[in-house]
Symmetry: C2
Subunit: 157 residues, 2 copies
Amino acid sequence: MDRPIHPDVEPLGFLLGTWSGEGQGEYPTISPFGYRETVTFAHVGKPFISYTQRTVATDDGRPLHAEVGYLRSPRPGWVEFVVAHPTGVVEVDEGWFSGSSLRLRSSLVAATGTAKDVTAVERDFDFEPGVIRYSLRMAAVGQSLAHHLQARLQLEV
Amino acid sequence: MDRPIHPDVEPLGFLLGTWSGEGQGEYPTISPFGYRETVTFAHVGKPFISYTQRTVATDDGRPLHAEVGYLRSPRPGWVEFVVAHPTGVVEVDEGWFSGSSLRLRSSLVAATGTAKDVTAVERDFDFEPGVIRYSLRMAAVGQSLAHHLQARLQLEV
């Protein structure tokens, strides 16, 4: 049964569906790399949108990263984002949503005992009809905040 | 392409697949409730197992909770579990895995600005072939650690 989208997240309803595209990664401690990404946003009628992400290497298709979480919007123009990473990291982000852009900043990043140390994440999203562009900055493994990822995704039809 | 399971998580390989069953919830601040649960564990050949969970109410099938995350086992007998909740909560658990039981205790629970306050989670799992039993205790909304959930899940064939 299809349930109507919850009013809290209706302004984010354009995200619903599966998006895919290509991105580039870099960081002071690693070699640059290309990736293909698939993101799915879904809802069940409650005040959140679920988020599932996977990337594979452009060169040989091997699995790279994945992450999962939920978006909430407890008041108009404000978005909360909780994310779990298979690296043993959890992330809590919050920030402004304008309709065409979303600027998320981590309020907390924490990890299991053996995970690599990540201390801050900033995610900038820009939206056009059928297109998401994002960039991600990260402070990790002793580095200060530095550019890590950028990608362009298109809504699959 | 099916990739072989990573040796780190091979002892948890019996979890792979989709499990379903019924559970009962209670907490000092709410009325008891029954739920039907579906859990899926999957892997892509990397050192983690993904976890996706959904529950619906036994009485009318309305969506109740959901949670997503990843299991890691950086050394034999030790499991790390990171979870994101649509309530705006993230959870980092660690604990012992004996083969037939898993005892996870939160090392950190954190949340977005508007989420309900959860301060600790304890998850006990007991395994038999094709059956998972779990119970979950939680400290939240000013209450000390108290029993919240228990369920019995069977592997779908």
